[in-house]
Symmetry: C2
Subunit: 414 residues, 2 copies
């Protein structure tokens, strides 16, 4: 076909001739890279780290579908489906509910960019890497950040928070429900109410916990909630879920300054996601195919039922905990009630280099488990049982791999 075009071009007149002149003025100085001439090859991995997880079969199928336009009515229907799915998994009736065109960090920025204005006091629970990141972003946009720093493995009590709320009078409190870097499950009952008594909004990160453990956005008084696609939802990374209460929405719509980001400006996003009742106007090109996948993830969760998903994670993770203890390993979080039912942190056994264990399990079994992250680096190994990966069969596989790793990896190298 291309050859035919080339032959035809002689008859196409002055425009092509002009372009051809332009093209001839320079030479290509960078050649086609040889690496790209090799075929794409993706290994088969069982992803039992803290995420991303493996894709559910139906999500895989969605990812292989052809494009439609980001402003087509069928796409708006898919976005509406996603909104309803998020409302379901968040247990909220908030109209301002949508997916962000970026990973979980992007959703965190969307929350902070839209809620905080320069000078706003911002209280942050920093008991792992996610709080560190929230504090970092808060500082970048000029908020007065008050970090509450705790060693990884700890959580925040109502009493501690009440003292901090009284002292700093923040407009926003950040807590992580599933601190995946340390395996801590932050309780949330009563925290929203407490915040509201101090005129503070409550922002919760549920990236590593959503659909693996109960959360009730409305009943728990959470004002901003976000999560990721690539954990229990078994979707590819690249989209994230977010919702704002009416209180949070009011803060956004009465702010004095524009958010620093246009890409994440919630007034624009509310419009394109059909949350403001106005005709939808082009904002950015949404990640159409990733949204197909996210829609399918949420459909799977609607079919399974949230409570069944919570129970599945809790039972399979309890089974994992028993098997780990059977290997003589110690769980990093001491209080069983504070252990996350999705990502488990295991203390690195004495004398071992955690890297040897992680590499052994990957190299011999094609299973991903990981070390710590941020403040928990070097202290823990982490095993995630997320969505379709949360099965007893997978627990048996990773336990077998770990048992062998503990036998074969050399001790006391450190």
């Amino acid at each position: 076909m291309f050859r035919a075009l080339a032959r035809a071009s002689a008859t196409l007149g002055p425009q092509v001739a002009g372009w051809a002149r332009t093209m001839a003025t320079r030479q290509l100085l960078v050649a086609p890279p040889e690496a790209l001439l090799r075929p794409l090859s993706i290994p088969n991995r069982l992803l039992l780290g803290p995420g991303p997880s493996n894709l559910a079969p139906r999500v895989l199928v969605a990812g292989g579908k052809q494009m439609i336009g980001h402003m087509h009515k069928e796409m708006f229907q898919i976005m509406d489906d996603i909104k309803q799915g998020i409302q379901y998994v968040f247990q909220t009736k908030n109209p301002l509910t949508l997916a962000i065109s970026g990973s979980g960090h992007c959703a965190l920025e969307a929350a902070l960019f839209n809620i905080l204005e320069p000078g706003d006091p911002f209280l942050v629970g920093v008991n792992g890497i996610w709080g560190q990141r929230a504090a970092d972003i808060g500082e970048r946009i000029g908020a007065r950040v008050h970090p509450m720093i705790k060693d990884p493995g700890n959580h925040y009590t109502l009493q501690e928070l009440e003292e901090a709320l009284a002292l700093h009078k923040p407009v926003l409190l950040f807590l992580t429900q599933g601190e995946s870097s340390s395996g801590v499950l932050q309780p949330l009952d009563g925290y929203g109410e407490l915040c509201h008594r101090y005129n503070c909004l409550l922002l919760v990160d549920s990236v590593a916990s959503l659909c693996g453990t109960p959360i009730y956005m409305d009943q728990q008084g959470i004002d901003v909630l976000y999560s990721g696609s690539q954990k229990v939802l078994n979707s590819p990374p690249g989209t994230s879920l977010i919702s704002f209460s009416d209180k949070a929405k009011k803060k956004i719509y009465t702010r004095k300054t524009k958010p620093v980001s246009f890409y994440l400006d919630m007034k624009w996003l509310a419009n394109i996601w059909g949350c403001d009742g106005k005709p939808r106007i082009y904002h950015h090109t949404t990640p159409v195919v990733s949204l197909y996948s996210l829609r399918e993830s949420l459909a799977l969760m609607a079919e399974q039922g949230l409570e069944n998903s919570w129970r599945q994670h809790q039972e399979v993770t309890a089974y994992l905990h028993g098997r780990l203890q059977g290997l003589g390993l110690q769980l990093f979080v001491k209080d069983p009630a504070l252990r996350l039912p999705t990502v488990t942190a295991v203390a690195v056994p004495a004398g071992y280099d955690w890297r040897d264990i992680v590499n052994y399990v990957m190299d011999r079994f094609d299973i991903e488990i990981t070390g710590g992250l941020g403040p928990s680096m070097g202290k823990v190994l982490r095993i995630g049982l997320l969505g379709c990966n949360a099965t007893r069969e997978n627990v048996d596989r990773v336990i077998q791999a770990l048992r062998e790793a503990l036998q074969r990896c050399s001790r006391n190298k450190l």
Copy 2:
């Protein structure tokens, strides 16, 4: 399997019992949405708007592949392949070259957030919607924005720019190579040199033009160049391409303030993309599957060869222009040398409502063409021939559809 787990749970001890109590404390108030119980159905569309375009078959296959971890060595290899592919299509040897985890707007923000500091003078060519957006973002982050406003359909000459550079002494100039909202091709030869004489960096948007018309980042002295995945590259939207010259990199590495975004902080991104020679540290979870697709798009371009792709777009678009004129339609950009070889803007024919034409072509032919955008809204119809969609067969299809639309749509309704 789940039933078996439920039966087994009675023996799992106090942890599950504790979780079960937590779960029982509240009721679900939001039911699984019925919309999500319907199957996902994606219509077949020929996307001949200004983008997104249809996915190439090999890109479709990549989108259906299983996840691996964002920090696995195979993923770093894919990222390295992508970097080399971007260097090829940009014609640059810049080490600071990578893909952004977001759409083209996100890449624009990545450029402005990292280059500009509050108070920096920023000169913006506003001859369509993309310049409007760049000016908007510049204002959000506190730059002193100097917009050079022109009616859509116009471009910027070296002489005009020299006057503005002398007057405003900007640190950065923004130009759009392919103004897809008006169909203008901005010339770039000599513009980088001119900017550098005035100590200004040159930032170019090539979202709608890359691989459809020549660009030579290094030879043309472009300091920051970005583009999207969903135009000529025929990949899904959700990733974008960016590269920084050494001059631009120096500005980033010597800035006094942190960029407002952590997600788009180029020092972090440079590390995770292997551009700084240091061991890669977790920053955010990259959109793994979208990067598979992007890698395949770039591989296709490496195989086809840039010059062949440029020629294909120029020849097929010239054929489209001839056919449009044969229908009695007028091209919006008067000077043939300034017409974009990817997206063509046609003046809305007198007496017609552009919406009727666009809807007719969509409803009867399943072909997307679009109206104007931003300043060109209501003035033009836009037809894109992007990547694998740039064929004479597709031109013939859209011309047939347009001919019928012009016959059937009622005139003088307005």
